[in-house]
Amino acid sequence: MSIDWIISIATENWEMFLRGAWMTLLIATLGTVFGAIIGLLIGIINTIPKPERGLKRIVLKLINIILGIYVGFFRGTPMIVQAMVVFYGAAQAFGVDMDRTFAAIFIVAINTGAYMAEIVRGGIISVDKGQFEAAQAIGMNHWQTMIHVVLPQVLRNILPATGNQFVMNIKDTSVLNVIGVTELYFQTKSVSGNNFRYFESFFVACILYLIMTFVVTKILHYFEKRLDGPQNYQMIDDLEQVEGKKA
């Protein structure tokens, strides 16, 4: 019976499964965090106002072109191929034997960064032009405007898309088994290689992936609600009454 097999595989190999799930979560989490930072930086660099002429304009243009190539390349190629190119390429070209976990996080981060750059760009565009103007009108410079007014709104705007990216990363780290990272798919392959029960072994992996994505989605929704703050606000005399009652 399959169910008996599933239970026995899960109980006998729970340590391997959990270690794989932990590795998957680690790579996906760090990859998403660093990727989001990369995307945010690119998004911010794109908003730096370009002067009419001069060296600064040339430098900024050059940076924008390089970043454009980066985004185009990593969005336009499969992550499984990028993993092979980065991991084996680094070994061959520079004689560097990268730590597999580090390589995995690195690949997920630069891949996510390319997507996040576009998400952040969209997030900045979606902030009303009036917000920029109001900030300028009270004398804020570009950085003050970005830090105090625009970016907090951008972060809120991009949170759902970032969560989506995180969930995708949890699933897509499975392709990194090609460079021998001991994430969940890799571990499941090892387990099934021993018992030849492919369906039952991967069914266990399936449940574990589902639990991880479900929990992460719920946590992110909670954060979104927290960021939006309470639906109602308290009038000041109400607050005074509340404090009065306490005293």
Binding site: G130, A134, A135, Q136, I138, M140, V149, Q153, Y233, L239
Partner: protein, 254 residues
């Protein structure tokens, strides 16, 4: 040339000389000469597309003028090396669409410019903000976020935010045009009270009755030029220019 006007400089808060603005080949402002005196309430009227909002936006450089000078405290603001952000803190701006910072509550909207730009301490900034939120009657709403307020309330917060910077001039860009009719009154009432305190105000508006009541001077613009200016009595009761007469006839017929 600027120095020779020394006498008037004492009175002028802002003086605009030969100001022009084009969007591509479309000339929106043509050779505007105009000044605002200290303590004066000036209303700019005119039909849509006459350039009055653009004039206001040029004054605080939200639009870069194509030519001319803006003289503030004896200096031409359009000089390349001029500190624009410092100049902007001296001008308060109230927008048609409020533009409150959506991520900040009412109190912080009125504080952020003071602490980050003027470098006031948080407690000073809070006192100043509370003072002006009382003026606009919203001191009880300091914890509310902009999306929780009505249009009229938002605009009053926007006025308090501008006042909190304690500017030399307050610029209003059609402050009641985006409001529901029943909310126009509360905003105009606040503005009338401010006009009574001797604050220097430059108001672009379609509210003719209001302009007649509060203005020291009314400026009528049409097709990018100032056609006529004078006291409300002169402009509304005895307009000299044919274009002014035609505009007022159209407006008051409705």
């Amino acid at each position: 040339m600027i120095a020779s006007k020394g006498d008037r400089l004492m009175k002028n808060v802002i003086e605009i000389q030969h100001l022009s603005k084009s969007f591509g080949t479309h000339e929106v402002l043509k050779d505007i000469d105009f000044s605002v005196n200290k303590g004066e309430v000036v209303c700019v009227i005119g039909s849509s597309g006459s350039g009055k909002s653009t004039l206001l936006r040029c004054i605080n450089l939200l639009e870069r003028p194509s030519g001319g000078q803006i003289v503030y405290q004896g200096e031409n603001i359009l000089d390349n090396n001029h500190n624009i952000n410092n100049y902007r803190t001296k001008l308060g701006m109230v927008f048609q669409s409020f533009n409150l910072f959506n991520n900040l509550n009412v109190l912080t909207n009125c504080i952020v410019g003071q602490t980050k730009v003027l470098k006031r301490s948080k407690s000073d900034a809070e006192n100043v903000a509370m003072k002006y939120l009382k003026v606009v009657g919203l001191d009880r709403y300091i914890n509310a976020k902009p999306h929780q307020l009505s249009g009229g309330q938002k605009q009053r917060v926007a006025i308090a935010r501008a006042l909190s910077m304690e500017p030399d001039v307050l610029l209003f860009d059609e402050p009641t045009s985006a409001l529901d009719p029943e909310m126009v009154g509360e905003v105009l009432k606040v503005m009338k009270e401010l006009a009574g305190t001797g604050l220097t105000m430059l108001i672009v508006t379609h509210e003719m009755e209001f302009a007649r009541e509060v203005s020291d001077r009314v400026v009528f613009m049409d097709k990018g030029v100032i056609v006529e200016e004078g006291s409300p009595e002169q402009i509304f009761n005895h307009p000299q220019n044919e274009r002014t007469k035609a505009f007022l006839k159209r407006t008051f017929k409705q």
